[in-house]
């Protein structure tokens, strides 16, 4: 109850933070390690993601990509190594702290809030909402419920725009649990974008999304990158990686195999052998 | 709709009962309810111009439900109620219903000393005595008759058990004895062995066991399968139950009990009446139940109206000395006499039933009983207290 008023200074329209301390990459991972019952899922991976880029992450199934995401975002506590966001260490912090610090992720297997409507799912996303404090939500007056209502109205407009863009408007009032597989992925992505973080970690957001829609979503991601957002994208579709990514990180057996611009990665012997298969 | 104020002519005496038909006291509550019906049956079977109506509501052995039960009786115009049994419930119902709604209550089972000082506007009476006396009688029995100079107490952890433990221990110690352990137990535990071990670990001369027959039979089973029957056991009236030896499956010859049971002249008559009517042995407390029910009907007859205040005014006159003696044997005629305006005094199954100014019994008689080898219960002595 004590901290419920602490969000009064929050500003929902925060601009993406492009000018972090000179040259510090927004996300830096150093020697990350994580094992499960003897399986080394992540084994000393180090990489960094530059501000304002769309960085791809590829690698065979089981290479440790999702586990790396889990360690960065606080869903797993790494066994070793450090994670820095804008130069500040966030290793082992709680997921919500990391999200509040400006780093948000999606889940590979879409996790919808099944008995909430699509609208509610999206309304939830933005951080530091006014009415998330208990007293503000309840008490009348311009510093209370009335201002909450105002910010809710504003948010509502944004949410509807997003719905249109993701072709989900006709489902706005449906429970998220009734969506089709691809629609779930869309909702997952839309929710993360609405949270409006500086850095976005997307775990196969486009798997199962229809190609036509996929194209439009990638355009949207590019727009956001142009606005200064930073993306780390796990994707198995090499066409997407080749045409949209600035840089590519290739993981294999828990470690970074190669890192570099798409063209060089594509032709890298090791990558071809471990990941792409012979005939590319 | 107003409950009629008929004078003479045909009258129906209304009385309610709030008893535990379900819940933890239901094993006593159900047979006691049947006992409570006996006076009604007597009146209605007799060829008089008075008849009686009894309505029963389930207390579920729960104060909250007791309130609901009493309220529903009050709403149906029952001016007098027998019960509830549980002291906690009686206190709560008094505050919530009996006092404000002016209903006379006579309980056969609430033995808490707190009832004596309860602010009840004289609407609450009881035919059973306060545990303040029983605890003393038990302590006296333990030291004098059983000859124990040290004792441990095992008691059920409710108002009844706690009050008896308190008065027993106080008296026993002030008589020079030592209390080795006071062990609270639940009413329905799976096993009492560990608690018994705690009580027995310092080798007390005697064990004082407060329990109800349901949990009590289990407790005694556990005792007999783990300890020698050389240790005498003292029990209060709740453990006077003819079915107990059969249920325990052992002779209870090391048990000495104190019960305020039935020193009234009509007790055997009521027992016979019950067996005849229900084809079963009488439950513990039956005589108090009968008397509570009977005295409310008698006072109602004397009052001539189904009206709480007027019945209250008749409670002491019909119970206390002076007047024609009414007893369970001639109960129906007695009711008719009272209805006709004759001064009566009730002498019941449990005692002579004389109320003091608190609504408690003026004089209480305790029987000291033992269980014989063949399982029968025998009274071997009596102890008498007069209210101070």
């Amino acid at each position: 109850m004590s901290s419920s008023e602490s969000d009064t200074t929050a500003d929902t329209d925060r601009q993406p933070n492009t000018q972090t301390a000179e040259g510090t990459p927004p996300l830096r991972v150093e020697g990350l390690q994580k094992s499960f019952e003897g399986i080394r899922a992540v084994d000393g991976a180090s990489f960094s993601v530059e501000a304002g880029t769309l960085t791809g992450m590829i690698g065979p199934n089981g290479a440790g990509k999702s586990t790396t995401f889990d360690c960065i975002t606080g869903f797993h506590t790494p066994d070793g190594g450090t994670v820095e966001l804008d130069g500040r260490p966030i290793t082992g912090h709680a997921p919500h702290e990391i999200a509040q610090a400006g780093l948000v992720r999606t889940f590979q297997i879409a996790r919808e809030l099944e008995e909430m409507t699509v609208l509610e799912n999206l309304m939830l996303a933005p951080q530091h909402q006014l009415g998330e404090g208990m007293w503000r939500a309840v008490l009348p007056g311009s510093r209370g419920r009335r201002s909450v209502a105002a910010s809710e109205r504003e948010l509502r407009e944004t949410v509807w725009e997003t719905l249109d863009r993701f072709e989900l408007s006709h489902l706005a009032d449906e429970y998220a649990g009734t969506l089709s597989g691809g629609q779930r992925k869309l909702l997952e992505l839309a929710r993360a974008l609405l949270a409006d973080p500086d850095v976005l970690l997307l775990d196969e957001p486009l798997a199962g999304v229809n190609p036509t829609l996929e194209k439009r979503l990638l355009e949207r991601i590019e727009d956001l990158r142009a606005d200064g957002h930073t993306f780390l994208l796990v994707e198995h579709d090499m066409d997407v990686i080749m045409t949209h990514c600035d840089r590519v990180i290739v993981m294999n057996q828990g470690d970074v195999l190669v890192e570099g611009p798409p063209e060089t990665v594509r032709t890298n012997e090791q990558v071809i052998e471990a990941y792409l298969g012979g005939d590319v | 709709l107003e409950g009629g104020n008929e004078t003479g002519g045909d009258r129906t005496i209304k009385m309610g009962m709030v008893v535990a038909e379900t819940g933890s006291l239901s094993s006593v509550g159900v047979p006691l309810r049947d006992v409570g019906h006996l006076p009604r049956i007597q009146i209605n079977d007799a060829d008089t111009s008075t008849s009686a109506e009894v309505s029963v509501q389930d207390s579920q052995t729960d104060p909250q439900q007791s309130i609901s039960a009493a309220q529903s009786l009050a709403n149906s115009g029952f001016p007098a109620v027998v019960g509830p049994l549980l002291s906690e419930a009686t206190i709560q119902v008094t505050n919530e219903i009996y006092k404000p709604r002016q209903i006379v209550c006579c309980t056969p089972g609430s033995t808490s000393p707190r009832l004596t000082s309860l602010d009840d506007d004289d609407f609450v009476y009881r035919t059973i005595s306060s545990d303040a006396f029983q605890g003393r009688a038990l302590a006296q029995t333990a030291s004098d008759r059983v000859g124990a100079s040290s004792a441990s107490v095992v008691y059920v952890n409710d108002a009844y058990g706690q009050a008896l433990n308190e008065t027993f221990s106080e008296t026993f110690e002030s008589n020079g004895g030592t209390i080795e352990a006071q062990v609270a137990v639940g009413q329905q535990e799976q096993s009492y062995v560990s608690q018994l071990e705690k009580a027995m670990s310092n080798d007390p001369d005697a064990l004082f066991v407060v329990a109800f027959p349901a949990g009590g039979s289990q407790l005694l089973r556990d005792f007999y399968s783990n300890y020698s029957r050389d240790t005498p056991i003292v029990v209060p009236d709740s453990m006077r139950d003819p079915e107990l030896p059969g249920n325990v499956g052992e002779p209870l010859t090391n048990i000495t009990g104190v019960s305020s049971v039935a020193a009234g002249p009509g007790k055997d008559f009521v027992a016979d009446l019950y067996s005849e009517e229900y084809d079963a042995d009488t439950p513990p407390f039956y005589s108090y139940m009968y008397d509570a029910s009977a005295i409310l009907m008698l006072a109602n007859a004397a009052a001539g109206a189904n009206d709480g205040s007027e019945i209250k005014a008749q409670m002491q006159p019909v119970a206390n000395p002076d007047g024609e003696v009414v007893s369970p044997e001639n109960f129906a005629e007695g009711v008719q006499m009272a209805a006709d305006g004759t001064t009566v005094q009730y002498r019941g199954a449990s005692s002579n039933v004389d109320f003091d100014e608190n609504g408690d019994m003026k004089r209480v008689n305790y029987a000291v009983f033992v269980y014989n080898e063949d399982g029968s219960v025998e009274d071997v002595d009596t102890i008498e207290y007069a209210a101070d």
Binding site: M1, S4, T73, H96, E97, A99, V104, F107, R111, L113, E114, E115, M116, T117, E120, M123, L124, Q127, G131, E132, M134, A137, V138, R145, V148, A149, E152, R153, R156, A172, D173, G177 | E2, G3, T22, S55, D58, Q60, P63, S68, Q71, S72, A74, N75, S76, G77, S87, E88, A89, I91, Q92, N95, E96, P100, N157, D158, A159, Q162, E166, Y278
Partner: protein, 435 residues
């Protein structure tokens, strides 16, 4: 979830009553009143009896509504399965009693002699504090585990206040305690002070308000006591309104939205930067505080409380009330409280009275075997008499059957089908109306 098999009638009723939710509640209460009055008239109840009976129904309806509302915040919204409701009520009531009981009284254990307001606030605060303590493990375990932890906590509270060890203790030089199994007297209910100059001795006369109330009451032949009970009951009903407004606002806000998200998938909420622990603790603690207050309002009129009031089944009853209404819906909680109190709590005894008034089955056999054998010779009366003799047990079987029927045919409760969107404003495209 939504199976389309039993939609129509109930939904039509709950959605089409003109006047919205307030009218819906009023309609249900009205129906209960009518039913109760009809049965009462059948058995020949006096006017006083009727008025008092309606008071009883209203009081319990209000108390169960309060408890169900508080539980709805925890379970309906945040998915926190609190099965220790009775324990939190007990803590509220006992704290209030110990704080307000006179120092060294003539009878019973003493207390700190503080004013009633302090007692009530103290009761709420300590219930909240216990809620906080319970919330610590609650942060780490989910649903079933939390359920059993809170059951355990409720039992710990009850066994502790029941124990002779704490019946009488010295705290800061004051002799006080729980009174053990014997229970504890509570202060005079403050509503009486509105009507009597000195509520401890009504003989000293009534206040102006009191004169008015008693005047009206006596003109129709209703005793003062019944009128006073109604007054207290109306205060409790007022609290239902306050709870409702507070909780509805809380639920329909970004705060409530996060709670719902936690109920659905805590990880998602975390990933979106919601400090789920804070929300869970807040919801749980607030719910427990409200339960403490509910306990005080419930026991407050009775002048006395004892551990026997706080058995686990008390919590079950509250759950049943909430389920009838539909978890997740505040209006549903109120309806559920009313229906539980009216139909399951007070209804069956009244029905039994009615049957008793009109039927006589003769003497009941003592065992079921004796009751069934005559059936062979086509004589059903021994069995009927036997069953009527066991009406109390049958009543519980009825409650069980009703519960099963309801959950099979209407699992989402009366109002659980509603999509009550958690937001302060309507979310319709371009909508403007506030919720």
């Amino acid at each position: 979830m939504t199976d389309g098999t039993h939609p129509s009638r109930i939904e039509w009723f709950t959605e089409e009553v003109p006047g919205g939710d307030a009218a819906l509640v009023a309609a249900v209460m009205g129906a209960l009143y009518v039913g109760f009055t009809a049965l009462s008239l059948l058995v020949g109840v006096t006017l006083t009896g009727l008025v008092s009976g309606l008071q009883g129904i209203t009081f319990f309806a209000a108390v169960y509504a309060l408890a169900a509302l508080a539980l709805n915040l925890q379970w309906g919204y945040a998915g926190l399965f609190n099965v220790g409701v009775a324990g939190f009520m007990a803590v509220g009531v006992y704290t209030m009693a110990i704080l307000t009981r006179p120092v060294n009284p003539d009878t019973g254990v003493g207390g700190f002699g503080l004013p009633l307001v302090v007692g009530v606030l103290g009761g709420i605060a300590i219930a909240a504090l216990l809620g906080f303590v319970a919330a610590v493990p609650a942060l780490r375990v989910r649903d079933d585990y939390l359920a059993i932890i809170t059951v355990g906590l409720g039992e710990i509270v009850r066994l502790t206040v029941n124990s002779q060890t704490f019946a009488r203790v010295d705290v800061f030089g004051v002799t006080t305690g729980t009174g053990g199994a014997n229970g504890l007297s509570l202060p005079q209910n403050p509503v009486d002070a509105l009507f009597y100059v000195n509520p401890d001795s009504p003989a000293e006369g009534a206040t102006i308000l009191g004169d008015a109330l008693f005047g009206v009451a006596s003109s129709v032949g209703i005793p003062n006591a019944v009128a006073l009970s109604w007054a207290y009951t109306l205060v409790v009903v007022g609290f239902v309104g306050l709870f409702y407004v507070y909780l509805a606002r809380l639920a329909n806000s970004p705060f409530g939205r996060v709670l719902k998200a936690i109920r659905e998938d805590e990880m998602v909420a975390e990933a979106l930067g919601k400090d789920t622990n804070r929300f869970k603790i807040t919801a749980f603690v607030v719910g427990c505080a409200l339960m403490g207050l509910t306990g005080i309002l419930w026991q407050g009129s009775q002048g006395f409380t004892s551990p026997a009031n706080y058995l686990p089944q008390q919590t079950f009853y509250i759950f049943i009330a909430l389920i009838i209404g539909g978890a997740g819906s505040n209006t549903g909680s109120v309806l559920g409280g009313a229906l539980f109190a009216g139909l399951l709590f007070r209804g069956p005894p009244l029905l039994a009275n009615t049957v008793e008034a009109f039927a006589d089955f003769g003497r009941a056999p003592t065992t079921v075997i004796d009751a069934v054998i005559p059936l062979a010779s086509a004589d059903p009366f021994p069995l009927l008499a036997f069953l009527f003799d066991h009406i109390a047990a049958l009543r519980f079987m009825l409650v069980g059957a009703v519960l099963i029927y309801l959950i099979q045919n209407r699992p989402q409760g009366l109002l659980g089908h509603r999509k009550e969107t958690a937001s302060t404003v309507s979310l319709a495209r371009g909508g403007t109306d506030e919720q």
